[in-house]
């Protein structure tokens, strides 16, 4: 039988991994945009908070942050519910995984987007203001589309790191690829085979996303002239 009947379990684990990484990608990109805007803002308080956020998050390993956030979120919630006299609410590990991953990778996206915003020539924004666009219009029509072109290599890089970081969520109890293949390996006493299967699933995901990202990069760099050597 294919993979001793553990095929569906592993596919379910792969689906969890994909869902988790896509959801946290979207959320962390939103955090990154907000973070980059506050890092480039005039208000010094906002800048200070954003700088503290990115420096702190990027200097501490993601697994430590994951455990820190996961356990303390639950403990904090327990204290809240106890104080209010309610029953204990258990945090869903999937939700906790998405939130912690988004919070961590939001810091990396903040730096990516900040660099990309700075790469857009100032004249473009000045032209938008000269046309009488509101700040939102100039952001949506001028700044954002050009910023994406510069941000894409950084986004691609962060995405690859993020997918690989999702392997750690099995440590906080999520049934992802790692958990599924480890369970299958323990049940069949074929640890090596199933660990390799898990690795191949990840390799498949990274390969497909690599191809997609190359296509996206070509798409967004339409109209950019490159020097022919």
């Amino acid at each position: 039988m294919f993979l001793s009947g553990f095929g569906p379990l592993i596919l379910a684990g792969t689906w969890v991994t994909l869902k988790l990484s896509l959801l946290s990608l979207i959320l962390s990109m939103l955090i990154g945009l907000a973070g980059a805007s506050s890092k480039l803002a005039k208000a010094s308080l906002l800048r200070g908070w954003a700088t503290a956020y990115t420096t702190l998050i990027r200097s501490v390993p993601d697994l430590v942050l994951m455990l820190l956030l996961f356990y303390s979120l639950q403990l904090g919630l327990n204290q809240c519910t106890e104080a209010l006299g309610m029953e204990q609410i258990d945090i869903d590990p999937f939700l906790a995984g998405v939130v912690t991953l988004a919070f961590i990778y939001g810091a990396y996206f903040t730096e990516t987007f900040r660099g990309a915003f700075l790469s857009v020539p100032a004249g473009q924004i000045e032209a938008a203001i000269a046309y009488g666009m509101t700040p939102w219009q100039s952001f949506r029509r001028v700044l954002f589309p050009q910023m994406m072109r510069f941000a894409l290599p950084g986004i691609a890089n962060n995405w690859q790191v993020l997918i690989k970081a999702t392997a750690l969520v099995s440590i906080i109890g999520l049934a992802d690829i790692v958990k599924a293949t480890q369970d299958a390996g323990k049940a069949t006493m074929q640890m090596f085979l199933f660990a390799v299967v898990g690795a191949l699933m990840y390799l498949l995901i990274t390969t497909v996303s690599n191809l997609l990202l190359i296509w996206l990069e070509n798409h967004y760099s339409a109209g950019v002239r490159k020097a022919v050597l």
Partner: protein, 237 residues
């Protein structure tokens, strides 16, 4: 908080009463794996930029596989996977090696960082101005002399900023070592958490320790860059 520090400060820093643990263990993991990876990656990087496909192809495959899969899975393959094979159990030497969690961890970490470092170094070789290499050839240097005197020193200097990034990422990656029963900082944090239920304090102290090591490494690499990359700075008057 002060109780935790008073009771466990030795375990956090270097010894939990039985063996090396905490910061000392994390640093040992980092140094051992980065040193092995560094030594292996120099010849591999030279092979990676070779124009002969049969030399650069296998190296490309190696870095592709190791950079495309999570380190945690690689560790699981080496730690629980390889040891479950009959071949390994029947050979005495292999059996001794793979039974020890620390050996498997360092092997997995070294192979992983070696893959990333190889790509960094290969990129640095491609970035060397062609004039430097042509000058070496024009002076009649043999390939060996050309590599040891010109290409590899130039590669190491230019790769330094990217290499420092990789070392910091490796420090962050050492946190998965506790899954192979290696008593690093995070293992101590989990023990403290299990003993006291003070999760925030336990993991918070671990986070602070990791941040301190990361900042120290950043400072160290900045010193190195000031020394070895001085020639790339714009000249002042």
């Amino acid at each position: 908080m002060s109780d935790i520090i008073q009771n466990y400060w030795q375990a956090w820093l270097w010894n939990d009463g039985y063996h090396v643990s905490g910061v000392a263990m994390t640093l040992w993991l980092l140094i051992a794996s980065v040193a092995c990876g560094f030594c292996l990656s120099i010849p591999l990087a030279v092979a990676r930029v070779s124009s002969r496909r049969w030399i650069s192809g296998p190296v490309w495959f190696y870095t592709y596989v190791f950079r495309g899969t999570p380190l945690y899975i690689q560790l699981l393959i080496f730690y629980s996977g390889v040891y479950s094979l009959h071949v390994v159990r029947s050979v005495d030497l292999l059996e001794h090696f793979f039974r020890e969690g620390l050996n498997c961890t360092i092997l997995a970490f070294a192979l992983n960082t070696c893959a990333y470092t190889t790509e960094i170094f290969a990129g640095a070789i491609r970035a060397i101005p062609y004039g430097e290499i042509e000058a070496a050839r024009a002076l009649g240097m043999s390939p060996w002399v050309k590599y040891t005197r010109i290409i590899i020193p130039a590669m190491l200097r230019r790769a330094l900023p990217y290499y420092s990034n990789e070392v910091i990422l490796m420090l962050h990656a050492t946190t998965v070592a506790f899954t192979a029963t290696v008593p690093d900082i995070l293992k101590v944090a989990r023990d403290v958490n299990a003993a006291t239920y003070a999760s925030f304090e336990a993991f918070g102290i671990a986070a602070v320790l990791y941040a301190c090591i990361a900042f120290a490494l950043v400072g160290l690499f900045r010193l190195c860059e000031n020394r070895w990359l001085a020639f790339l700075r714009p000249m002042g008057h």
